[in-house]
Amino acid sequence: MYKISNRYGAAYVPPYSKLMLIMRLTTVILIASILQVSAATFGQQITINRKNATLESLLKEIRKQSQYDFFYEGKIIPRNKSIDISLKNAGINEALKRVLAGSSLTYTIDGKIVTIKKQSEPSLLDKAISVFENIDIRGKVIDENGKPLIGASVFVEDSRNKTTTNEKGEFYLRDVSDNSTVMIAYIGYQPIQLNAARDLGTIKMQPSTGKLDEVEIKFNTGYEQISRERAAGSFAKPNMKVMKNRTNTPNILQRLEGLVPGLLVNAQAINQTSAADMEGGRAGLLVRGQSSIPILTPGTAPLTSTTPLIVIDGIEFNGDITQVNMQDVDDITVLKDATSASIWGAKAANGVIVITTKKGKAGDKLKIDYDGYYAFQGRPNLDYVPRLNSQQFIALNRELFPQYLLFNKNYKTVTQNFGSLPHLKIQYDRARNKISQAQADFKLDSLAHLSNTNQISDFFVRDAATLNQTISVSGGGPVHTFYGSINHIGTQNNTPGTENNQYKINLNNNLVLGKRVSVSVNADLTNTVTRVGNTYSPARSIVPYQMFKDANGNPLNINYLKGIPTDEGNIVLPDSLRTIYQSKSRIDLSYNPILEQSTAYTTTNGLYARLVGGIKVSVMKGLDFQGTYGYNVSNTNTRAVQDQNNYAMRIQVMRFTQAANSTVIPVYNIPAIGGRLNVNTSASKEWTLRNQLFYNRDWDKHQFSLMAGQQATSSTPVTTSGIYYGWDDQLQTSRPVDLAKLAAGINGAVAGSADLPENNVGGGEGRIARTTSYYANLGYTFDRKYTLNATWRIDESNLFGRDKSAQNRPVYSIGGKWALGTENFMKPINWLNRLDIRLTYGITGNAPFAGTAASYDILSAQNDPNYVTGAGFILSSPANTKLSWESTRIYNAGIDFSIFKDRLSGSIDGYIKKTTDLIGALSTSPLTGYDNVIGNYGSMENKGIDIGLTSTNILTRDFTWNSGFTFSYNKNKLTSLRENAPTTGEALVGTNRLVGYPLDASFVYNYGGLNSVGDPQIRRADGSVTSEINVALPEDILYMGTTQPVWSGGLQNNFQYKSFGLSASIVYNGGHVMRSSRNPTTNEQIIGQNDLQLGFLDRWKVAGDENKTEIPRYVPSGELASARNLSYYTSSQRFTMNASYIKLRDITLSYSLPTLVANKINAQAISFRLQVNNLLLWTANDEGMDPEFTGSIRNAQGTISLGAHITF
């Protein structure tokens, strides 16, 4: 190593002499600036044109032309240095800079005095000044072996200043701001960033190991990686950067919204799905339309799934996707057609999402990353659909009560149905002359002045927020590489008293054992810890005047809100009966929503482990053996504690209490001291064994690969449950109960006979699901232009019937690809960089859930006091030996292109999916004993287009603008269904599927306005209108469309200006319909709840109103209500609207700190981001409804999150 220096006679200048100089100069400056205020601005024009001139001569020339005085120490001026210079009408500064450039000299100008001095160790002050000074830098670049790298690019960030290294690897850059960053790049090496310094020394560059892989796009099928060039199938990859920055949900599948053409993430469906039905975070996801009818009738367990198969690190993942940490995800591939997905056989028809997690890279330095964000989600809008306020509610009651009273004179019956509601009691008290009109008015008026909106918001709702933090470490050497991360997600939902935390550890190890064998071990552990309190969930139907605390802040008893909770719902408990039960049982039966909050809680502790081991052995040249072994196990413990003050607990004790009257000593058959503990454990274990041989060979113009293997999977759920009575949560003790007595039934109990049929222990091993499969996959490419892909697979499973025809049904696919753009005749088209044409055909399957059907008559145990021995077997489902998986044939045609120097690239795919053998209620001859059995009963079709585009719109050194666009169109049609079609209008309105229409079809009555008494009418096919019930026929019914989006997609724009990034991600859905949340009607004869919306005030009231309004009248009796059909109005086209919308899902502003600052805390990079989520941009409906929320509340919109990412 040597130094290049233009100093000679390196003299040491003591620091104090410099200080002296500054002081002197300051004096001069002061005087000069007073006398000649603007001397400097009258810059003299200097013109010099000389070659091989010495510095000294040039300085003299400048002094002469500029008339400035020069101060410098003679010996610091280099004597033998020759300079070529050409200046014309230059200012003094420019002239001096040019002349002194490349020397170690610097100058200052004070007034008309130029001081030239040697650049020396700068003082603090100089440092501050020097920030604005420019320097010249030099250095040498060598490769990993120490050899000079010739032709490496060296440039200054944010400027046009650049050069390349010479044959010795040296470079020299002039006029570099010394606070700038110097970049050094060489193809195949990792770029280097350095802070500018005069001498950067020798810089060693490291080859970028993964660099070439990264450039080559690879698709992962879960079984193998295929390079894009050799893949004929329809694959898609999301923009990982947008996904990583999305903070509106930790669910990585939901973060895919709008990023993958052909993948619909239906926000409306997600919002409507209860947590229990989220299918492990998959609900609402559809790849290329719905190709199965999962649920037979509402409320029954699903038979199949419509959501894509999730594969993580090659192993099918059936757990909760929210347990996968976005930061651990390296890559995602979505498999959409038969050629890409049919390797997954009988589980591939809904598409496959293949996730690979991060691995350490050999040669990497130890890298530590921190990523965290805090997302503030706020409170939902409880008044999304406006309702009557207290004044309107009471006024309405006053108006309607006289009509109601005519039909309901008996107050006792009213309380039996509605509980003891204050406003009804007042009105009945008045009607029965128990109070005066003035008293009634006063009481009602005081109710009208109360509003519980604020109390509901204060006591039962809180702001939601999420904190998500990850620290990851990766690194490794040639033998061992690793990636590890720890993650914490703290979720605060809208319900006070709830805690939700998830902790994760992920470890990924790869070992290279010699030249032939490599082994990988991946362990991913998740622990979820939740605690749910007993917070009252405020139904919006509560009467609006009902307060929860009185004016003094005391919690109020609100008995009518809770009756006797049963499995079938709440049984109303009038105050009169409550008092009797209370006095007999000696148990307080009042219900106080606020005090209830601390009387029960449920904790859940879940532990989930995802373990994947892999081995790869190179058997001979081109032939590898690969073994993949996955083991997923989960265990969730739930403890639900109710203390003895808990309302449900008190009711239960009361129901089993025997006491003939309030004087005898009650017999408590369930302990009245202590509460109850319910413990539940649910565990599952799943394993996958896969052995495959992989042969890969390239020769001449041929590229050939063949994979064949065998796989077995098994999954078993196990549950246990236990109930402890008389539970003391502090002492952790329980009391015995006589279960045999409770099961036989307690006669003469306080509220009538009661029995407790369930045992206090339960659970057991669940339905086991096993499969065994064989598969093969072939890929052949000729001349790097013509590619052929083929797949074959057979699945056998205990989920299908015993019959040979059910088991022996292989899937297969065949696909071809033509790299048209590389043909010679396409070469003249300069703007075209790539053009591939793909065509594929094949079959994929969809398997039923375990337990959907069986090859044998299934018996289950049942108890009943009327049974011969009190217990026995019932035949719960008859055998169907012929059930087979749903089969989907997929035709796919696509092109991939890239144009204008890869500025715009994209894929366009068209597909037809024909599904046969849909699993559902196959109609059988009723004379067999069963009119239907779970079998293969229909077929449907999905056609569509997927478009994905990415573009680089602007690309300069400081500013870039990239865009991504996806568009998916899907047309779905049910082509056959072996079930009876509806024969009445009512049945058709009630269904959402009909042959010839898309799934989720919306059928409605054709509203014919009101008749002369204010009841709704329908317009029939012949044009007549009627309000008569039970008369509509299918032909009278209108088809409005489907409630499933027909087209959907997203648009992402990413702007980068220096250290600032701005990205905006828009999603859109359309072509479908939805039902309005409005419902200005009621069939409730008494106004006992506040379900009423404002429109009700504009209802039909007197004859003639039918010309002014279309809202039906109020009817005061059940008889009148059942003589009309209110759905003629509420299920008509009046309430169906276009559901199309565009939403700005997220907009993110990010800023990366300068490397200099990052380095100060020993970090390599620090960036911050600010995100705003969910801004509704446009809706097609004119009611301003957000189609993502069709219920009565809407989640907070325009929420904000803050995030940071630090790399050490």
Binding site: G766, R767, N866, L875, G929, E1119, S1122
Partner: protein
């Protein structure tokens, strides 16, 4: 290198072995836990233990002369179950919509569904494991008698009354003997063939049936009763008499009490605290009415469900029926004069049923039936 080859060979062997393990048929032929299939004789017995027959909303109730329809409830009925009742009451030609399957056939504990179960047991039980020959024969006999009861109900609902002169040409029912949901061909046999199968099944079952131990277990008593009933339906009163007499003999052998209730005690509203009283009436039926399994009049329990909120006040017994009861008749306590949840009294003495509101009422053979049958046989024989 040699070592390595051994390793590879080992690996290939290991792989082959693994595939052997997972390819075995047994790997897939697992019986999932949480449910079971019938294998042992005991399994079949348990199937019979939980087995019972019901019918819901019997068509004959709504077509019966003793029933009136009450407005406006009658016109206000809207869903399919209720529309069926309306149509039955009006004797309309079409009772079901074209897309409906008759409730008589689809009911979960109705005779068609139970024929599947009885046929399964008849065809399989003799090959079951673990039981003695006698146990298997007893189960077989119960199932055969059960099949006969089902077929008799099936004949009663869907065929003409038996007439010996035309029975060999009148259409009967398809005689169902196989349990398989994939069956597709069903042919109506003659009425004679139908009755023949019923009598054959009952006669074959008789020797292996036991005494009455439970009111939901088919006993020799139940089989004799049904033989008598079937012969009565065939107008063969001498044969009916033989079997009803045999039934009375069986009554005395029963292990459980078989006797009539004293309605003046159990239905006495003035003394609801009397031992064995069925009262009080909570508004939703009599609180202490005995369970079907404990009702001493019941020989073999078949339940008829009729509870439907919408139709509670729509169908009441007619004024003419009301006229048949003297005011002091205690059986009136099985009916309510009030509208549901109301103090409004039904007009003209009409009443609605409240007893068995949720549980349904027994329509299977009772001791009272036997007295009536014997009386009729005697009367027809001029005794």
């Amino acid at each position: 290198m040699k070592n390595f080859n051994i390793y590879i060979v080992g690996l290939v062997l290991f792989t082959t072995m693994l595939s052997q393990v997972s390819c075995k048929k047994e790997f897939l032929e697992v019986v999932p836990k949480g449910q079971t299939i019938a294998i042992t004789t005991a399994d079949y017995e348990k199937l019979l233990n939980a087995n019972y027959l019901t019918s819901s909303f019997n068509a004959s109730v709504y077509r019966g002369d003793e029933v009136s329809g009450l407005q406006p409830y009658f016109d206000g009925m809207s869903d399919l179950i209720n529309l069926r009742m309306q149509r039955l009451f009006r004797y309309e030609d079409r009772v079901y919509n074209a897309d409906q399957v008759p409730d008589e056939i689809t009911g979960e504990s109705n005779y068609i569904r139970k024929l599947y179960l009885f046929n399964k047991i008849i065809n399989e039980v003799m090959a079951s494991q673990g039981g003695t020959e006698a146990q298997k024969l007893a189960i077989l006999a119960e199932a055969k008698a059960g099949r006969a009861i089902c077929n008799f109900m099936f004949l009663s609902d869907f065929t003409k009354p038996y007439n010996a002169a035309t029975a060999t040409t009148d259409l009967g029912i398809p005689n169902l003997t196989i349990a398989d949901v994939n069956q597709k061909n069903f042919k109506r046999e003659t009425l004679n063939q139908g009755y023949d199968l019923v009598i054959k099944d009952l006669s074959e079952a008789l020797p292996d049936l036991g005494i009455t131990v439970h009111r939901r277990k088919i006993s020799k008593l139940a089989a004799e009763f049904y033989l008598s009933r079937v012969y009565m339906a065939m107008n063969n009163y001498p044969a009916a008499k033989l079997h009803v007499d045999a039934a009375f003999l069986e009554c005395s052998k029963a292990a459980i009490p078989i006797e009539l209730y004293d309605y003046s005690v159990v239905l006495n509203p003035d003394n609801p605290d009397a031992p064995g009283s069925w009262l009080p009436d909570s508004g939703l039926g009599l609180d202490n009415e005995p369970l079907a399994a404990n009702n001493t009049e019941v020989i073999y329990n078949i339940t008829a469900g009729w509870f439907q909120f919408q139709s509670v006040d729509a169908f009441v017994f007619s004024p003419r029926t009301a006229g048949l009861y003297v005011p002091a008749d205690r059986r009136l306590n099985l009916y309510s004069p009030f509208e549901l949840f109301s103090a409004k009294i039904h007009p003209n003495g009409m009443r609605r049923r409240t007893s068995g509101f949720f549980t349904g009422m027994n329509v299977g053979p009772t001791l009272a039936d036997m007295y009536l049958m014997r009386a009729e046989c005697n009367a027809r024989a001029n005794n």
